[in-house]
């Protein structure tokens, strides 16, 4: 081997981002995100000793709303910047619809992979049954065959009309028979449960590596082996990244190690991805997704009145509230540039997603922040009938609507309650409102 020639092949894998572009920022210590992923892969890519093939398992997004379409475009651009060589289609990618799939397949240089699905639509969508990649270490050339399957079980009761899915094992049989002669390593991206992937590993010992996992929370402890086949996962929500290292020996590839890394705060944010994430927030703002979210009606024809109205009678409480975290919750979004994001806004404003609730800053300025009615409920009937004492009772479960385990894992009612507990007050100007 000559000096500077690659000595190792690194297959880097991620998947099941499910629309998680970055840690939401609700608490410290969150992991994941395209920005850290870019830094991580970039640091490896620039090592002359390694040939690096980053691959994507599938399910970039969670569902098929417009916001998810934008996310899928952003994630695809992030993968292009990061040097991904392929994207295996997951069921959620497929559900986004032929329009976006066709668009990405025509404008992007990252090809779609799926061995067992066929997409039949009037729009052109190119899906590769397998992808061969060559690598050269200065003396020898190696061929890596990438196959991809999707399990029918993941579609549950709904398979889009533009998709037909073949049995993965039956599809793989002739392909592997062909590819084992033409390749030095067969890698299967198995968009299936780990149990299904283990069964595939038993059927096809020719496969050297299976990248799998659907809903695996703990990929660091989920590595399995069937014979010489390693079955690995990068977990979900883009929190981890996996690296499988191979030595490029003169006659064959030898698997050296498998490592799963959490994308934690030790990895710096990439400047390029930070700009891309900023662009994402701009698109969300430009398309005014806040105003397009469906609004549910409130029971008993209730409506939100806004904090200022509450403050007319409950002045002491209002003054106290305005100094709490709840009273500044909208500004925490403004400071990070997330104030146009429907996914964040629900827990930083009052009544978002309900008729008469927060819609956007211009239309419902009085409902910014976690206001009185966020906890006590819409107040229109209360201001008409203040003697009704049934209004406003709150229990711990109301807090957990937002302070859930995903966004507020340290939430303890007794401790958090102290931070917002209202002072005693004497209501002085009751008549003004009742009139």
């Amino acid at each position: 081997m000559t000096y500077g020639s690659p000595a190792r092949l690194l297959i880097i894998f991620s998947g099941e981002e499910l629309g998680n572009l970055e840690p939401c920022g609700c608490f410290e210590g969150q992991i994941g995100g395209i920005s850290r992923r870019h830094t991580f892969i970039n640091s490896i890519m620039h090592t002359e000793e390694d040939i690096v093939f980053p691959v994507s398992l599938g399910d970039l997004i969670r569902d098929y709303r417009r916001q998810e379409e934008i996310k899928m475009e952003i994630l695809y651009r992030a993968m292009e910047e990061t040097g991904f060589i392929l994207h295996n289609l997951g069921e959620k990618d497929i559900e986004i619809g032929p329009q976006l799939l066709s668009y990405l397949s025509q404008i992007s240089n990252i090809p779609f992979l799926s061995s067992n699905i066929k997409i039949t639509d009037s729009l052109p969508i190119s899906v590769n049954q397998y992808i061969l990649k060559k690598c050269f270490n200065g003396k020898h050339s190696y061929t890596i065959a990438f196959l991809g399957i999707i399990s029918q079980s993941l579609f549950k009761n709904y398979i889009p009309e533009y998709v037909s899915i073949d049995n993965p094992v039956q599809t793989l049989r002739p392909l592997i028979k062909d590819l084992r002669e033409r390749s030095d390593l067969i890698v299967l991206l198995s968009h299936a449960t780990q149990e299904e992937s283990l069964e595939i590993a038993k059927s096809f010992p020719e496969i050297g590596l299976i990248i799998t996992g659907h809903g695996i929370d703990d990929p660091e402890n989920s590595i399995e082996y069937v014979g010489n086949t390693a079955i690995v996962s990068a977990g979900k929500e883009g929190k981890y990244i996996g690296v499988v290292k191979y030595f490029l020996h003169s006659k064959a590839l030898e698997r050296k190690s498998i490592e799963i890394f959490p994308l934690d705060s030790r990895i710096k944010d990439s400047q390029k991805m930070t700009l891309l994430l900023k662009e994402y927030q701009h698109i969300v703002r430009d398309e005014d997704l806040l105003s397009k979210a469906p609004q549910a009606s409130l029971p008993n024809e209730l409506s939100y009145v806004g904090n200022a109205v509450c403050g007319l009678c409950h002045k002491t409480i209002y003054d106290h509230w305005s100094k709490t975290g709840h009273g500044a919750s909208y500004n925490t979004l403004v400071s990070t540039g997330h104030q146009h994001d429907p996914e964040c806004i629900r827990c930083h404003t009052t009544g978002y997603g309900y008729i008469s609730g927060f819609l956007n800053y211009e239309k419902s300025r009085s409902l910014i922040n976690v206001g009185c009615e966020s906890c006590h409920g819409a107040g229109s009937n209360h201001i008409k009938n203040v003697s009704d004492t049934s209004y406003g009772l709150v229990d711990e479960n109301a807090c957990k609507e937002c302070h859930d385990i995903q966004h507020s894992p340290k939430f303890q009612f007794n401790e958090f309650w102290k931070k917002i507990k209202h002072p005693e007050e004497v209501i002085t100007n009751l008549r003004e409102i009742t009139e």
């Binding site: 098929y64 475009e73 929370d217 703990d218 701009h282 698109i283 385990i405 995903q406």
Partner: protein, 340 residues
């Protein structure tokens, strides 16, 4: 070559030295080597490592306790208790346990809105060298009090001017006496008509009508019930009204860009009616440039900003004029913000 041999010898020597050092700690005062049982070691032993909670209704919190004991001869130190996901919290009663002392790991799992079979794990790391990472597992099934089928409604491809109908079925658990109060959609083009009803089985027709907009649509149907755990179930629906031409994206955004930055955005236009052609394209403002190229069965329009563009907000559009009678003009808004 000589250098390699020297390195190899040093490595072997160091290895033997380490092995000897380790072995010395395991030698008794009488000079004999201690057997496995008499070497002072902690040993973590859990009574059970798997908790099956069976079937639990959606929205309930699952709590369980895993009891363990230090069955070894020296102090057991629990260095870390880590759950596999944010939905599971784990707390150990004490971190240091003397010989024969017992401890507990309390695990709380919040399934949120998840339904179906679930397995979550908690990893307990300790100084037990034979078992440094114990995996505790909770498993079971989260079931619903109200089952809506389908959970999302695909209204499919609909020709402009046509209507479309789907059936939604709602089942409730008989012994819980849950009522379906109403179904409604904030999307005015959706009509909901009640169908067959009995105590625990309800059907509704979902009809899309009078929707003239060509392109993808998505919305929500809200199912209100008397279930305390599922007071409102959101059923998303989606589909697409098709005309002669399909295009993506429907809005073009450049985001926040620096002046002089080289940025291109692409629009793909597909013709479902092969007789339809693009007659002309207009852009507004004229600081936006575009280039049209042919792809297989489609046209690609690359849109770029003129490098001499002034700073500030861009609010423009690109108009595609066609010979289609139902889509004579396709308007694509263009947004962006240019920083100095």
């Amino acid at each position: 070559m000589k250098q390699i041999k020297v390195y190899l010898l040093i490595t072997v020597f160091l290895f033997l030295l380490i092995k000897l050092g380790t072995a010395m700690g395991d030698i008794r005062k009488d000079g004999k080597i201690k057997d496995e049982k008499t070497i002072n070691k902690p040993k973590i032993v859990f009574k059970e490592q798997v908790y099956d909670f069976g079937k639990v209704y959606i929205g309930e919190t699952i709590k369980c306790t895993f009891k363990f004991k230090n069955d070894g001869t020296s102090e057991l130190i629990i260095s870390n208790v880590k759950s596999s996901c944010g939905c599971t919290a784990a707390l150990v009663s004490k971190n240091k346990l003397l010989k024969d002392e017992e401890g507990e790991v309390d695990v709380t799992y919040h399934p949120g809105n998840y339904t179906g079979r679930v397995t979550k794990s908690v990893i307990v790391s300790s100084n037990d060298t034979n078992n440094p990472r114990c995996i505790l597992t909770i498993t079971g099934e989260i079931i619903e009090e109200v089952i809506v089928n389908p959970k999302k409604i695909n209204l499919g491809l609909i020709k402009k001017g046509s209507s479309c109908k789907r059936i939604i079925e709602i089942k409730t658990v008989p012994e819980l006496d849950i009522k379906i109060q109403k179904l409604e959609s904030p999307n005015s083009y959706i009509t909901i008509i009640p169908g067959e009803m009995n105590d625990n089985n309800h059907t509704y027709q979902i009809i899309l009508d009078k929707y003239d907009y060509i392109g993808r649509f998505a919305g929500m149907i809200f199912v209100y019930t008397t279930s305390k755990k599922q007071e409102r179930i959101d059923v998303p629906f989606f589909g697409e009204v098709i005309g002669d031409v399909k295009f993506y994206p429907e809005i073009l955004s450049f985001g926040n860009i620096r002046k002089g930055q080289d940025i291109k955005r692409t629009i793909i236009v597909n013709f479902l009616n092969k007789d339809v052609k693009i007659e002309k394209i207009e852009v507004n403002p004229n600081i936006i440039n575009y280039v049209v190229s042919e792809l297989q069965n489609s046209k690609k329009i690359d849109v770029e900003l003129n490098k001499h563009i002034i700073t500030g907000k861009i609010n423009g559009n690109l108009r595609i004029y066609t010979n289609s009678t139902i889509q004579p003009v396709i308007n694509i808004p263009i947004h962006g913000n240019v920083e100095g």
